[in-house]
């Protein structure tokens, strides 16, 4: 039990799906009603997993693309200051989610401030409180597509577009010739054929050949660990 305490918990939260993994053990998969709020899904997941494993104190949360979609910031080139860019991203995220800008937390990638993601502040706080109630502490909250871009296979110089298929969304990222990142998340369950069509359109739109794209899928089913796949959730990645 103490060895489990020292490890961190990886938790994936998506629409209708929540997963928990402690160390190298098998993931606990929980199908949650789509109407569940994030904190309720997290609480239910931890409580159900606590029957089999000890809950660790450090929790790393991964959001699905549907919950935390990626979007790009088309700021004028005159906008170079970080704060101005963040304000623009904030405004875009608030408009996309239909809420006031003060109600969301919008984060930009520190290296490529063209890419951003946003979450309601209330949801993030509820998740923190919920984890605290369960005896844990959240050390990381990031969209799964952000973590997936750091996989060894995506680091190859020939890869200029990264496409992640999740059970509730598909996220497409492209690094164009002009040195600007572009991002798009298509929410909803997308089958392979539809993804292929979207991918082709995406790549053509960015002037990229198909061999420049890396397509990877993430699912609840545990399979064989794919070489070069992202380190967290090993065995849950598959080639699309």
């Amino acid at each position: 039990m103490w060895s489990v305490w020292s490890k961190s918990l990886d938790i994936y939260l998506g629409h209708g799906l929540a997963m928990l993994k402690a160390g190298s053990g098998n993931a606990v998969v929980l199908r949650v009603p789509a109407a569940f709020s994030l904190d309720r899904a997290l609480s239910t997941l931890i409580e159900s997993a606590a029957k089999d494993i000890a809950v660790g104190r450090r929790i790393r949360l991964y959001f699905s693309g549907a919950i935390c979609p990626a979007f790009s910031i088309a700021a004028p080139k005159e906008v170079t200051r970080w704060q101005e860019r963040q304000q623009i991203a904030h405004a875009i995220a608030a408009k996309n989610q239909g809420v006031h800008a003060s109600e969301i937390n919008c984060e930009l990638d520190s290296v490529h401030p063209d890419i951003a993601a946003a979450m309601p502040i209330a949801s993030l706080e509820e998740l923190r409180r919920c984890a605290h109630r369960q005896g844990g502490r959240i050390v990381s909250m990031e969209p799964l597509w952000s973590a997936a871009t750091r996989c060894p296979a995506a680091r190859h110089s020939t890869v200029q577009s990264f496409i992640l298929l999740e059970p509730d969304a598909a996220t497409m990222l492209a690094y164009g010739d002009k040195g600007v990142f572009d991002a798009l998340t298509l929410p909803g369950q997308i089958d392979t054929a539809t993804l292929t069509a979207h991918t082709r359109r995406w790549l053509v739109g960015h002037g990229l050949a198909e061999d420049k794209a890396m397509k990877i899928g993430f699912g609840a089913t545990l399979g064989v660990a794919m070489p070069g796949s992202p380190l967290p959730w090993s065995g849950h990645w598959y080639q699309v």
């Binding site: 937390n105 984060e107 930009l108 990638d109 520190s110 290296v111 490529h112 890419i115 951003a116 993601a117 979450m119 993030l124 959240i138 050390v139 990381s140 909250m141 990031e142 969209p143 597509w145 952000s146 871009t149 750091r150 995506a154 680091r155 190859h156 890869v159 200029q160 577009s161 990264f162 990222l173 690094y175 990142f181 890396m214």
Partner: protein, 176 residues
């Protein structure tokens, strides 16, 4: 593909790194201050030792006070006397050939360098003549008549014969 890192929780590990760096910097600064304090104290101690050594050296190299010789004032006075040239005054006296004037006494005050001559003269007019004779050869007239006093001179029989007078002249030796 370039990495993307978007996290809604700031990485707190950097706080530990910064805290560690701050602690290290504080330790280094503390060590530096301690070293500086130690070295400055050593410098102060060394300066004190140097000043003490200098004082001792000054004491050792200072000229020793020779105890005053009790014979020194008289020796200085003797030297002063020896340095005074009385020859001119004596030459004037020896060469003095004034009839009616006889040298009665000679008094020399070595402290003030004043020579006094007392002559017995037979008249007051002789005093003026004697003054002129004494000052012969000097433009500044160093010999001055101090006093002239008169007294009756008696012969062996008790009769008054003539009126004897005495004149006192003085001169400052260094003006001759």
């Amino acid at each position: 593909m370039r990495n993307i890192r978007i996290d809604f929780i700031s990485d707190r590990r950097w706080r530990w790194v910064w805290a560690l760096a701050l602690l290290s910097a504080t330790c280094v600064a503390g060590m530096y201050v301690r070293q500086w304090h130690t070295s400055s104290k050593a410098v102060r101690d060394t300066e004190i030792l140097i000043s003490v050594a200098r004082e001792r050296l000054a004491l050792l190299t200072a000229p020793k006070e020779v105890p005053l010789n009790p014979k020194r004032p008289s020796a200085e006075q003797a030297a002063k006397l020896l340095q005074q040239d009385l020859n001119k005054a004596f030459a004037t006296i020896e060469n003095l050939k004034e009839p009616g004037a006889r040298l009665r006494s000679l008094n020399f005050d070595s402290a003030s360098g004043v020579l006094r001559l007392e002559f017995e003269i037979d008249s007051v007019a002789k005093a003026a003549a004697l003054t002129a004779v004494l000052n012969a050869g000097y433009d500044t007239r160093p010999w001055q008549l101090e006093t002239v006093s008169g007294a009756a001179a008696n012969n062996a029989m008790g009769f008054a014969t003539a009126q004897a007078m005495r004149g006192l002249w003085f001169v400052e030796i260094n003006k001759l």
